[in-house]
């Protein structure tokens, strides 16, 4: 069965290009994108996701709030957090809330994909 990945970021170019990069992968991934925390919650209500990759600082519901929501409602779903801030406090908070990984933007697409593949198999 295809692994379902939800990518959440208010930066549309990023969600679009990440979506495109997963299409190029030979593995069986179904990728859905959301451009806000609210949209992400709506997508999560519609079906199970194996992995959520989310930005932290977004207008409205933040990535941390989304992370809390996922850990409470969908504990089996893994979360990777990404951010353009370079702060170790955010990193610590992300791990404390149960994120599996923390990625600083901009990142290398190859490393990003390897991370996803390692997490989902």
């Amino acid at each position: 069965m295809a692994k379902r990945v939800l990518i959440v970021d208010d930066e549309e170019t990023l969600t679009f290009s990440l979506y495109q990069s997963f299409i190029l992968l030979k593995n069986d991934y179904e990728v859905v994108t959301a451009n806000s925390g609210e949209e992400a919650i709506a997508r999560l209500d519609e079906g199970h996701f194996d992995l959520v990759i989310t930005d932290i600082f977004m207008p409205g519901i933040s990535g941390f709030a989304l992370l809390d929501h996922i850990k409470e409602r969908y504990p089996d779903t893994e979360v990777v957090v990404m951010t353009a801030y370079g702060s170790s406090e955010h990193k610590d908070e992300a791990f404390n809330k149960g994120a599996r990984h923390y990625v600083e933007k901009p990142f290398e697409i190859k490393e990003f994909k390897k991370l996803v593949i390692d997490l989902l198999g």
Partner: protein, 412 residues
């Protein structure tokens, strides 16, 4: 004269004598009372004099030992009285200062002409007025002074005015430090915000470029173009990371470390560069320097930065000397008590820094290098603050510079 008359005469004489005797006794009694009274008055006067002398000495000592300088001037501005502190502060002796007019003390004669008449003629009293006065050596000293009328303020008839002043160099330095930290904090917040806003679109561009690159074969020139896009984004990102470092250094992870080991480590990093420029590197480490409680990678960054500055200040040949010592009673933060500190001094005999640039050198984005960003020293200042320390620079253009890094000594 018969016998009876002779006896009468004799009695009369004796009576007169007795009366005289009594009178004499009366006089003597009076004198001795007078004398006693005089003695009492004299003793009383002595006592009063001694009390007055005590009070006088106490007030004299008060006036001469207060920590502010005190000058009394007459209506024309001539100095009629100086206390010891004023002599010490300005570097004059008693006779030298007494000959002067208060106007002569002002570094700016125009200011003197404006301010002094306000006090002496218009009776406008000043509170904490800040200006520059000239020391005996002719050097301008920042002072703050207040004025008052000697005697009755209400009738404004006094011929004597009091100038109470302090050397405010230290206050000014603290003020500048606070202003600098405020600017750094604001700039820091701005930088973090801006960097974040820029890194987000950069992430979008980079990912798009790399996905595009994957769709071209390696030999395709379009793949190479895209690869250049990615490289330029990485360059911009490195710059933004520096902004972050400057804006919000990570919370320090502190442990006890031997500062000499960190210094040696940084030296090893720079050894090839030192050899290339034929720079002689020397250390003078004091014995038994206590360990310092620091984030070693942050302090390593500070020391590296200072070393790099020293290396770049030397054209070729030349020497860098690194010393460590313990300094007592350092005030490392404006609102903290004085502590013992480990001082690491890095002295080079390079080009030095011009005096007018010394203030600016710690400012963010200030650089004299063509390829410099100008954040190194301001980042170092921030990192040191986070670790409870501070940095100072002493420099002589054409002769060299000494950076002094202070780190607090904590009891384990």
């Amino acid at each position: 004269m018969n016998e009876r008359d002779k006896r009468l005469e004799k009695k009369k004489y004796e009576a007169q004598r007795i009366r005289q005797l009594v009178e004499d006794i009366e006089i003597k009694k009076q004198s001795s009372t007078d004398l006693r009274l005089l003695k009492e008055k004299y003793n009383h006067l002595l006592k009063r004099f001694s009390e007055l002398e005590s009070v006088f000495n106490f007030h004299k000592a008060l006036i001469h030992t207060i920590s502010s300088g005190l000058l009394a001037v007459d209506r024309e501005g001539f100095i009629t009285f100086t206390n010891r502190t004023s002599l010490n502060t300005l570097g004059y002796n008693f006779d030298e200062l007494r000959k002067k007019n208060i106007r002569e003390l002002f570094a700016d004669p125009k200011e003197a002409d404006e301010i002094v008449p306000k006090v002496l003629s218009e009776y406008i009293m000043l509170e904490s007025y800040e200006t520059y006065w000239l020391s005996e050596k002719g050097e301008p000293l920042p002072v703050g002074f207040s004025t008052s009328l000697l005697g009755d303020e209400t009738n404004k008839q006094s011929n004597s005015f009091v100038f109470l002043f302090r050397n405010i160099t230290q206050v000014n330095n603290l003020r500048k430090q606070i202003e600098r930290m405020d600017r750094l904090a604001t700039l820091g917040e701005l930088s973090a915000g801006i960097a974040h806003e820029i890194r987000n679109p950069l992430a979008g561009i980079k990912t798009s470029a790399q996905v595009l690159e994957e769709s071209f074969s390696p030999g395709d020139f379009r793949s190479q173009l895209v690869s250049r896009i990615v490289k330029e984004i990485d360059r911009s990102n490195e710059l933004l990371k520096k902004f972050f470092n400057f804006a919000k250094p990570s919370k320090p992870r502190q442990e006890f470390h031997h500062i000499e080991m960190i210094i040696d480590g940084v030296y090893l990093l720079l050894a090839p560069r030192l050899r290339k420029k034929s720079i002689h590197f020397r250390t003078e480490f004091a014995e038994s320097i206590p360990q310092v409680y620091i984030d070693s990678s942050q302090i390593e960054q500070v020391i590296l930065n200072v070393f790099i500055n020293a290396v770049e200040a030397i054209r070729s040949g030349g020497e860098i000397l690194v010393k460590t010592q313990v300094v007592e009673n350092m005030r490392l933060k404006e609102d903290a008590s004085a502590v013992d500190a480990v001082c690491i001094s890095v002295t080079d005999n390079g080009v030095g820094v011009p005096t007018d640039k010394l203030e600016k050198i710690f400012n963010p984005f200030y650089t004299t290098k063509s390829d410099g960003v100008g954040l190194g020293l301001s980042i170092s200042t921030r990192l040191l603050q986070e670790n409870g320390g501070k940095i100072e620079l002493q420099s002589q253009e054409g002769e060299g510079s000494t950076f002094r890094i202070y780190l607090p000594v904590l009891k384990k």
